[in-house]
């Protein structure tokens, strides 16, 4: 359909155009112009995605009703081929988009939440000197992310994959005058790159095996691979390595808390809602491959679970409002990977969606608090903001309730689905994931209480944020509350809409089935709700009445100190990797760079000079010598001619 093709091309085109235009005019745009333009671009993308979505739904419905017989899979998956990109020998990789349920879901999330964050940034970044660059980078990021989710083959996705890594680097180090921020940006980029290597090797292997990188063809042909073969295990493990880098799982997760060095909208967009979910998106996209590799699924499960537990414990002891949220993000991503490892692909995507809503909300709310306090990020110096920043408080409360999994909120349904799937595999898994959830509740409510309750312990003059910042907060709060309806389980009277919707796109989802008895489900839900309530009560008693700052030199037990120091993982990496690498780099600089390469270049130059000095003595100016030289030359030429004849 022509209209679908056009709309599909417009969706990433708008942010790209926005990025280029704003970047070109960044010296000339004044005030809010860049922000309004950038936001408009993303909103337009959102509208186009919406139209595509509606159209897709309509076709699906018609198809289900027996009409629209012309081309059966037309509505389910539509490939928009832009041009023949790589055509070498037998390798043909077109530049194509794939519009199906999965990509439409991600597109709506990226553009929807993205446009709200763009709107928010207009207020947040208002006073920054480089605000125009910021918006062009945000648009560029949106373009790259859309490229990632709309890709019709692995390589187009990889372009977006790399692009979001680049934009993440640029945006984390946005305030580049501070060296620590640059270090954080570099750390993020390097860890991403390690993951990218895995992805790339997997790409090559897939290309070698199937001769193509198109999603549709690969997924179809994957049926011919035997389950558990070494090849499929290797490929899926490598794809998972890519996901580890991008979605900050163990061992490559330390970049995400450091990435909080970037402006808060960046943290909200990139490191909560979109980029970090790219890993999960990739796994869902390749779910046909993953269901054939049970070993990899177990690895995914283990890594996700361990990451979730470790980072949840670290989050309890953090004192920076953004760091708490960062560790929370890593933990929730771990939960999503647990879901993937269990084969509950649609639950993972559901949690991605709800997480995008409430995590973006929480980050934007944190940004609002930081803005209100003039840059203060330490929660020990906050408190009592409940009465001052009312809207921020209320929306933050909504977000916290959602992430805690209070019944009725969106987070409850998505987390519950994961917990159910965990119980189905093994009750201990359920206990572990429940533990993660309880820790989440604990530190989130600690954050809420320390920030908003009690009395104000700081020195600034808090004020409410402008409307351009609070409106996105409100919208996201609404979504966090009602987002659960997207995938209400059968138990509570819903139709698991999202699961069925996504089932058309990913084969892995189509094979998902929950086999729990309704009674078990109710019991588990009860246990969950009960323990959550207990934890909230504990946190309330501990934190809500804080009036004074804690004494700095609080003596922590060994275990607590270990966790507070982030399990010394950063220090471990520094000793294991950074120091030897730095040493190697210094050695190479001294030997290769200074002696070999510089030496060779200087040698060439010096030799030329010396040779020139010697050779120019030929020009004596002496006429007789010139005549003589001419005669010798003529004799030489004659001899040459005679002997060659």
């Amino acid at each position: 359909m022509v209209k679908t093709d056009l709309l599909a091309m417009l969706v990433p085109a708008f942010p790209l155009v926005g990025a280029i235009v704003i970047a070109s005019l960044r010296g000339k745009l004044k005030g809010n112009t860049a922000g309004i333009l950038a936001t408009a671009m993303v909103v337009l993308s959102f509208l186009c995605s919406g139209v595509l979505f509606v159209g897709h739904e309509v076709v699906n419905a018609l198809h289900a009703a027996g009409m629209h017989q012309e081309s059966p899979p037309e509505g389910a998956m539509h490939v928009v081929k832009l041009f023949n990109w790589i055509s070498v020998g037998s390798m043909h990789i077109p530049f194509a988009f794939q519009i199906d349920a999965l990509s439409l879901t991600m597109m709506l999330i990226v553009t929807g939440v993205g446009s709200l964050i763009h709107l928010y940034s207009i207020g947040y970044m208002h006073d920054d000197k480089r605000v125009n660059t910021f918006f062009s980078l945000l648009n560029l990021f949106s373009f790259a992310m859309l490229m990632l989710v709309m890709g019709g083959n692995f390589l187009v996705t990889f372009i977006g994959w790399e692009g979001v890594g680049l934009c993440s680097y640029l945006l984390i180090g946005f305030w580049y005058t501070v060296p620590a921020y640059n270090y954080a940006a570099r750390k993020a980029f390097v860890m991403n790159r390690i993951g990218d290597l895995g992805f790339l090797i997997a790409l090559v292997m897939i290309m070698q095996q199937f001769g193509t990188l198109d999603y549709g063809t690969v997924m179809d042909k994957s049926a011919g691979i035997s389950t558990g073969s070494p090849w499929i295990t290797t490929v899926t493990l490598l794809l998972f390595v890519g996901a580890i880098g991008k979605s900050a799982q163990l061992p490559l997760f330390t970049w995400l808390p450091d990435a909080m060095a970037g402006p808060t909208p960046v943290s909200a967009l990139i490191h909560a809602a979109t980029m970090v979910t790219a890993g999960i998106f990739l796994l869902v996209r390749s779910s046909s491959l993953f269901v054939l590799a049970p070993i990899t699924m177990d690895v995914v499960l283990t890594v996700g679970l361990v990451t979730a537990l470790i980072t949840a414990t670290i989050g309890v002891f953090q004192n920076d409002i953004k760091k708490v949220l960062a560790y929370s993000t890593v933990s929730q991503l771990g939960l999503m990977f647990v879901a993937l490892g269990l084969g509950a692909f649609s639950s993972a995507m559901f949690h991605v969606t709800t997480h995008a809503f409430f995590k973006a909300l929480l980050f934007l709310g944190a940004g609002s608090v930081i803005h209100a306090l003039g840059g203060e990020q330490d929660i020990r110096k906050m408190g009592g903001l409940k009465g001052v920043t009312k809207i921020t408080y209320f929306t933050f409360l909504m977000g916290t309730l959602a992430i805690a999994g209070i019944p009725g909120f969106s987070g409850f349904f998505s987390k519950d689905a994961i917990l159910m799937a965990a119980y189905e595999k093994h009750p201990l898994l359920y206990a572990a994931t429940l533990g993660v959830s309880l820790l989440t509740v604990f530190y989130m409510f600690r954050l809420l209480f320390l920030t908003f309750f009690g009395t104000y312990r700081g020195k600034a003059h808090p004020h409410e944020s402008p409307r351009v910042m609070t409106v996105p907060l409100i919208i996201l709060a609404v979504l966090s509350v009602v987002g659960g309806v997207l995938n209400l389980p059968h138990l509570l009277g819903g139709h698991e809409t999202m699961k069925h919707y996504l089932g058309t796109a990913a084969d892995g989802i189509a094979g998902e089935h929950m086999h729990l008895a309704p009674a078990t489900e109710w019991m588990l839900m009860g246990i969950t709700v009960g323990s959550i309530a207990l934890v909230i009560w504990l946190a309330y008693n501990r934190f809500a009445k804080k009036t004074t700052l804690d004494p700095e030199a609080e003596e922590l037990s060994f275990f607590k100190r270990l966790i507070a120091r982030k399990w010394y993982i950063d220090e471990l990496y520094a000793a294991l990797f950074e120091k030897p690498y730095g040493w190697l780099s210094a050695q190479l600089d001294a030997i290769m760079e200074k002696r070999v390469i510089d030496g060779a270049v200087n040698f060439t130059g010096n030799t030329t000079l010396r040779l020139g000095k010697v050779l120019r003595r030929v020009q004596t100016g002496n006429m007789s010598f010139y005549l003589f030289a001419m005669v010798v030359g003529i004799i030489g030429f004659l001899l040459l001619t005679i002997w060659s004849a």
Binding site: R617, G621, L627, F628, V631
Partner: protein
């Protein structure tokens, strides 16, 4: 006319070639041998003449008038060249007060 042809052809062409080569070499050696600019110019004339002789010999042996016309043009050019060359010589005498060719040695590194 056959008489003349026979007469002309009685001296084989190689002799003229040898003669021309010899005169040319003498002129060449002279240009390298002497320092006086005028003598060098005269050796140049000698070289021109050797070439003229060769051209005329070939032309006579092959009946091609083009050779002799070419000699005519060479003479023209030689005349013009001598004119200008001697004018330069006079300038040289005026400026460096010598006609030693090694006095003009400023075009060097």
């Amino acid at each position: 006319m056959n008489d003349i042809v026979t007469v002309i052809r009685s001296v084989p062409l190689e002799h003229y070639v040898f003669l021309s080569f010899t005169l040319f070499s003498i002129g060449l050696a002279g240009a390298l041998f002497r320092r006086n600019t005028i003598i060098i110019l005269m050796c140049l004339e000698l070289m021109f003449n050797s070439v003229n002789l060769l051209l005329a010999a070939f032309s006579a042996h092959h009946g091609d008038p083009g050779g002799q016309v070419f000699v005519f043009f060479i003479m023209l050019v030689a005349a013009a060249e001598v004119t200008v060359g001697l004018a330069i010589l006079v300038m040289m005498k005026r400026n460096v007060d010598s006609i030693d060719i090694n006095q003009l040695n400023r075009l060097k590194w």
